[in-house]
Amino acid sequence: MRLAGKHSGEKDHFDLLPLAGVLLCLLGTLLLVTLSKGAIDVGAGAEVGWLAQADSQGKVPVLIEWDGSHAIWHSSKGLRRIEENFVLYTNSDGSWSRVNAKGDVEKVDGPQSNAMDPLLDYLDAHRQTHYALIAVRPAGFKSFQRFAARFEARKIEIASEPIEEGRGLRLIASGEKMR
C-alpha cells in the first residue's frame, strides 16, 4: 500500500485509492466465501432430517443408508459402515443352502457369519419396538430388493425412502427442537 502524504500548503492528503481497492478486494472475497458456503448449506449439500411418522405402534426407526455395496447403520454408537456381500443362507427342512452374490445356490453345512449379522441381530432382537428405515441412494436402487430381502427373511419390518447422492442425512427424534 502506498501512503503518500502530500504537503500542499494548508492540506495533508492521503491517496486512498489503493486502500479502497484492497478493502473492496477483501470484502469481495469474503462475500464470495460466504455466498458459496450459504449455497452449499441450503443447496444440494444441505442435510436432510427425517422425522419418522408416528403411528399407533410407536416403533422406533433404525436408520440405514444403502448405496449398493455398503450399509451405513446410524447406531447409538455412531455411524457403522458395513459391507454387503449378498451371500444369503436359507434353511429349508433342516438343511442349509447358500445363495451367493450371483444368485447361485449350493448346499452347505450351516450358515457362516456375515458382516451384516450385528445389524440384523439387533433389529431381530428389537423386532417388537424397532424397524429398519432404509435410505436408498441412487447407486443402491438396482440392488435394493436383494438388500431388503435380508430384513424380510427375518421378518424385520422396513420402510424405505430415496435420497440423493451425497446429501447428508440424519434422523430427527420426535421431540427434537428444530432450528
Binding site: H13, L27, T34, G38, V42, G49, D55, I158, P162, R170
Partner: protein, 221 residues
Amino acid sequence: MKRRRRAQFEGPWLMPEALLLTTGVGALLLVLIFASLLTGAAVLVKRVPRQKPALEETVWVLCSGGRIVIFEPDALEKQLRAGLGEPTVSSAGDWAGKYSARAFETEQLQVSGEAKAAVNKDFFQSSAHLDVSILVRRKPNQGEDQAAIQTPGSDFQKLLVEKDNSSDFFFFFVDPDSIESYRVARGLAAKAGFGVGWTPIGHGEPARIAMSGNGREANMQ
C-alpha cells in the same frame, strides 16, 4: 500581534461514495454471515412413514427420465397372452418361450413378457410352475414431467379425482433419475388422501411386475 496560522491537519479523507459502498457491503456481509451460520446446521425435515400391506386396488405409476406414466398391468398382460391359450404341463416350456418373445407398444409404453417354466416329472405325477412377469418401459418424451404433474387438469391430477382414496392406492416404480418427479406425484397423491408406496428400479431398467404367485403384492407407506 498577528499570530501565524498553523498548517491545519486533515485526517484521511474518504470519498462519500467509497464510504457508502464499504458500509453497505459490510452490512450485507454481516447479514450473510449471520444467515450462513443459521442455515449451516439447518435440516430439511421429511416425514417418513412405515411400510404396511396395501389392501386397496393399486394404481401403477412408472417414474423414469424425469417423467411419470400410469399403466394397468392386467390389461397389458391380457394383450401379451392374447392368442397363446392356456399353458398345460406339457406345453409350459413352449408357452413360456412364446410369452417371453412377445412385445408391443402403446402410446406411452413399451411392453414385453418374461416367463420361466419349471417342470417336474416323476413316475406318478408331472407338474409345471410358471413365473410370469411383464416388463414396462416408458417411451421417449412420453408421460408428464414435474411441471405437468403440478398443472391443474394434468392426466395425473385427473386420475386423482377419478380414483377413490378409500379403495385405491398409488404404487410407484422409481428410476434414480426421477426421484423429484416421484416426490411431486407422491405428494399430490398423499395430499389427496391416497395411500402410497414405491420400489426403486435400476437406472434405465424396466418396471417388472410379476403376474404369478405373490409377485404383485405391493406395500404402501
